[in-house]
Structure formats: structure tokens, C-alpha cells
Amino acid sequence: MSINRREFLKMAGITTILGIGGVSAVQGVRNRVEASQASRAPEALTAKRWAMVVDMSKFKSEEDYQKCINACHLSHNVPHITDNPKHEIKWLWTETYEHAFPGNEDKYRAERFQHMPFLMLCNHCENPPCVRVCPTQATFKRKSDGIVMMDMHRCIGCRFCMAGCPYGARSFNYKDPRPYIDGSKENLEFPTRMKGVVEKCTLCYERLAKGLQPACVEVSNGALIFGDLEDPNSAVRKVLSERFTIRRKPELGTGTSVYYII
């Protein structure tokens, strides 16, 4: 069943005049709209809890990392801000071992591990502190598949989530990001952001909805393994049951969904 806009306005108007159920009528329609937006296309990829395994042994050169980063940043119109590193926006980037896993440094560890760059992204925590602290639910954990989402239209830019995230996964638009997006490469299917809001990786929810793997996974040649953590037969569960993996700051109890094989 569907009602058109005029009918809806009439209905809401009448109930409001009567002083009864005006709000609930609006709510009811709103819920239906949201439900219809959320109802999945048949080709959509679904999971109970998405997770990613980063197989470091498959990253051979600087280029291998850059390929993933570019795929991510281009498909999400992430501005390339180079004039002031303080204003950088990063969804996917690299940090060396000692910075990615602080507290686990060991000066006798083999040189190649010390300086090995690790791909960093939002961990889509099972128990995300960023969501806990957000005063407007502009960042929220999607119930269906555990993706920690962003509502850029609701974000008030208080940056509590940036303080709350223990993984430095979030960036704030300190200035209008649009001039820093290469117009010729802009992805018109993904919204650009405005100044004053926080953003981060959203695990390519828009691609999953169309049945596509996340952009970085697609170009990674198998170095990034993506799948459902709660499905024992999924690709990620298979690697996790066979290989030794580590996660960032597991002691914080956030339940990160990004694993690393060294």
C-alpha cells in the first residue's frame, strides 16, 4: 500500500487539527519511508556482522596499498587536503606497526615488521564508543549488519565521536571539502560533504546494497578478505580459523571487526 504526498498531508493536517495522533501519523509515514529505503534489493550483499581481514603478506609494494586507498577515496569523494595536514580527511590510510599497535612495540622485532605499513580504517566496532558518545545518533550502528554508519545531515560537528574513537578513525571537515575534490574524478553517485561534519569509512554500505564488494576489497587482489563474522562458512571465518590474526587495542572491549594477518 502506498499513499501519495497530498493524501498524507491531508491526513496529517486533519489529525493535527483534531489534536490527536498528528505526530503519530507523521511518524507512521516516516517509518514506512525509512523501511522502504532500507528494504534491500535482491542482489544486495547481506550479513549479520560484516568483518574484514587484512592479509599483510599480500601487500608487496607501496602501490598495493595506494590502489586500495585510491579506490576508497575516489568512490567516496574524500577530499585530498595537502595544504594543511591538520585538516586531513582519511577513510583508509596506512600507519607503521608501532603506531598501529601502540604498546606492542619491541625494539628487537625484525626491522621489516617495525616499519611495515598497516592499512587503517574504521573498525566497525561491535561495541562502538563513538556511537555511545554521539549526542544526536548521527553516527549509529546499523542493526542489520553491524556497520557503523554516518548521517552527515544530522551531525552537529561537536566532535565528541573523534574524542571517543580510540582508533583515530574519524576525520572532521575543518573547511569546505569540495574544492579539494578533483571534479573530473568525482563520483556523482556518492554525496560530497559540507564543512563542519565528521566522516569516516562506512564499509561501502552503498556498494553492498548493489551487490558489490567494498571498493578497497575489490581492487586488493585477495589481500582484503571480507565477509560475515557470524557465518561459520564465510570467507573471513575460514581465514580466522586457520591463521593467526591480531586486532587493534583488543583490551578496550570495543570488539573491532578488522583483523590483521602479519
Binding site: H87, E95, R154, I156, R159, Y167
Partner: protein, 396 residues
């Protein structure tokens, strides 16, 4: 009663216009920030809160500290504070207004501020902070205004204010506790993740707030016929003394835990703030200024003979106030972000526009405070002259 604010001497108007000047300059700076974004501040991806949130935190303490005069007066019937309560309550009002403004200027999308109410989120401490702060503002406005109005008519205040006063006494510590919880519940920020943070906040608030109140009381006495009372000021001085000692003691506890346990994450920020870390030491000078001021304040305060001299007490209070202003209004917030989540260091220092905006918020606070004090003092000068039976400074 508001009409009292529009009669004033030359000095009064010069001061008012000076504040209005600061506000205008800051307003222009804010327009610039509004247009360009928070990039005009010194904040960064790594240090994402700075001067604004620091000042907010500090001022919540000032607001809460009003309870230090209200509580002894109403709960312990300590009559000497009778003339100070209104000054304490009005200071709280000005401080809460500044708090709200500092939050507002810190928002990336200020026009969406109502989202906090439209989408109430009880799991966010910010939500409770908004509730307790606005509640506290209402309480103080209502109580201050009613009690002063009654005093003007020389009648006893209506009965219904008493329960509200008791409520405000309980409410005051809550605003600062909740503000501490903004920080103390965040995983991964070792500097803030300490159970003693709310206690530290309260101790420093109950030192810094009354210190400011003493200075204000001395100014009021100097420039008006209203004397808040010598003994009241001395009692307040005692409160500053104890709370400052407790505050420094609490800081010592933090230092012990960090440096005896030798856990790197717990030591890093302290090392950064007081000695510099990996060659980064931008905050070291001001943190030492803060420590030295604290030391001066304590030396002047602990000896009753020195404290009894009002000039020295004023110096001690200024030292206390500025020591805590640096420590809590700056070091505490910035320090939490250094080193960052990757154990890397990005330093922070406010920019000129940022400082001008902060100054304007203070100017607005002082404007509100001046007007409220003007009203209160005018009424006290007229009505309660010598009501308390203590020597007043007589009109010439």
C-alpha cells in the same frame, strides 16, 4: 528591577562599552569562523577539542562553585554569607551562559544545535550535560531573582524558593560531575580515563570559583557602597585554601599512579605537559606557569596571618584562578589528545580569531555579570543598608 542597569556613572558605561567592543570584535571573528569553518582555529584531526571546550569545562566549575556560598548560608545558617549568596548565584548564571556559548562556538554545524533536543540520546553524556546545565541556569535565575525581589520589598522570600534552593545545592555538584564524565568515560584516552577526574574537577572548581568570587566581592566593595562583609570574604578564603590543597593533592595522586606504575600510556601526557615528549614541548611553559602560580597561591593561603591581609588574599586568589584556568581550561583538554591514538604527537595552539572569539564569550559573560551585579548592588545599597548590623562603607 532591570531598570537599575541603565542608571550608572561614567565608569560603569566605559566598562560596558569596553565589553561591547570586545564582543563586536569577537562577533566578526565568529562570522569568519561561521563562513570558513573550524579550520580557522588551531584544532586538528588529532587535537579535535581546544580552547573552546577547555573554557567550557573550566566555566562549568565556576558555575558549580556558587554552591560554596549558598550551602553554608542555607543549610548551616551561616549568616555571614547572606550578602554573598546573590553574588554567587549571579556569577553562576553568567558562567552557565558562557558555557553554553563556548559549546555553541565549538560546533561545526551550529545551526543544527537543536538536534540534541530533537534526537535525544540518553546514552550520550552530552545529553545529560545539556539537561543539567539548562536546569541549573533556570534554578539560579529563578532563585536569584525571587530572593532579590523580596529583599527589595523588604519581605521574606516566598516559601516555595526554599525547596528550589535545596535542589540547586544538590544540583551544583552534578553539573560538574557530568562534565567530568564527558572525559572520564572514554576508552583509550589514558589521561582522562581516571575515576578521580570528577573529584578533581570539583576540587578545582571549589577553589577557582570562590577565588573569583572573592575578587569580585572586593571589586564590588571598592566601587560601590555595598560591602559583602569582611568575615564572609575570610571564610571564603578558607574554602579556597582547603579546596586548592585538595586539588593539588589529587593531582599528586594522578602523578603517583602514572609514574610509580610506569605504564607508558599513563605517563606520556604528563611528560608531554610538564617536560615535553619527543621534542614536542609547546605547552611546557604555560603548565609551569600554572604550577608556580599554584605554589604561590598555596603559600599565601595556608598561613592565616597572610590570608587575613586582604591585599595578599587578593593576590592569592588571582594566582589560584589563573593557575586553574591554565590547568583545566587548557592543559586538561589538549593533554588528553597528546599523544594521539597512534602514539604520535600533533601540537595545538589557538589562533588569533579563535582567541578573539573566546575573549568575546568572556566579555558576554562579564556583561551579563556586570548587569546582574549592578542590579543586585543597587538594591542592596538602597534597601539592606546596615541590615546585617556590620559596618558598612558609608556613602560620602
Amino acid at each position: 528591577m532591570l531598570e537599575k542597569a541603565i542608571y550608572g556613572g561614567r565608569r560603569y558605561w566605559v566598562w560596558i562599552f569596553f565589553l561591547l567592543g570586545l564582543i563586536s570584535v569577537g562577533f566578526l571573528a565568529y562570522l569568519y569562523q561561521f563562513k570558513s569553518g573550524l579550520g580557522i582555529t588551531g584544532m586538528s584531526r588529532d587535537v579535535s577539542w581546544g580552547l573552546y571546550i577547555g573554557q567550557f569545562t573550566f566555566l562549568v566549575g565556576v558555575a558549580a562553585s556558587g554552591v560554596m556560598v549558598v550551602l553554608p548560608y542555607y543549610l548551616h545558617d551561616y549568616k555571614k554569607f547572606g550578602r554573598l549568596t546573590i553574588l554567587g548565584e549571579f556569577l553562576a548564571i553568567a558562567a552557565v551562559i558562557m558555557c553554553m556559548l563556548f559549546i555553541f562556538v565549538d560546533l561545526g554545524q551550529p545551526l543544527r544545535v537543536l538536534n540534541v533536543i530533537l534526537h535525544p540520546t540518553p546514552n550520550s553524556v552530552m545529553f545529560y550535560d545539556m539537561l543539567v546545565l539548562s536546569g541549573y541556569l533556570m534554578l539560579n535565575l529563578l532563585i536569584g531573582w525571587t530572593v532579590l525581589g523580596a529583599e527589595r520589598k523588604e519581605v521574606a522570600p516566598p516559601k516555595w524558593v526554599k525547596p528550589l534552593i535545596i535542589l540547586s545545592i544538590v544540583w551544583a555538584p552534578s553539573i560538574h560531575t557530568v562534565t567530568a564524565f564527558l572525559y572520564a568515560g572514554i576508552p583509550g584516552k589514558h589521561f582522562w580515563l581516571t575515576a578521580i577526574l570528577a573529584a578533581r574537577f570539583l576540587a578545582s572548581a571549589f577553589a577557582g570559583g570562590p577565588a573569583l568570587l572573592i575578587i569580585l566581592a572586593l571589586i564590588v566593595r571598592k566601587y560601590t557602597k555595598f560591602d559583602p562583609g569582611k568575615e564572609a570574604i575570610q571564610s571564603l578564603g578558607k574554602i579556597v585554601t582547603y579546596c586548592m590543597l585538595i586539588n593539588v593533592f589529587f593531582l599528586g595522586l594522578e602523578l603517583f599512579t602514572a609514574f610509580y606504575s610506569q605504564i607508558p600510556g599513563h605517563m606520556h601526557t604528563f611528560a608531554y605537559l610538564y617536560a615535553g615528549l619527543h621534542g614536542h614541548n609547546q605547552l611546557v611553559p604555560i603548565m609551569w606557569v600554572s604550577s608556580i602560580l599554584a605554589l604561590i597561591a598555596i603559600v599565601l593561603l595556608v598561613f592565616p596571618q597572610i590570608r587575613k591581609n586582604e591585599n595578599l588574599l587578593a593576590v592569592a586568589c588571582l594566582a589560584t584562578f589563573f593557575s586553574l584556568w591554565i590547568d583545566k581550561g587548557f592543559g586538561l583538554v589538549v593533554g588528553g589528545f597528546v599523544p594521539n591514538s597512534f602514539e604520535k604527537i600533533t601540537e595545538y595552539w589557538p589562533t588569533l580569531p579563535e582567541a578573539l572569539i573566546a575573549l568575546a564569550v568572556w566579555a558576554i559573560g562579564f556583561l551579563v555579570l556586570t548587569i546582574l551585579y549592578k542590579i543586585a548592588v543597587s538594591i542592596k545599597e538602597e534597601v539592606v543598608f546596615d541590615k546585617y548590623g556590620e559596618k558598612q562603607i558609608k556613602a560620602e
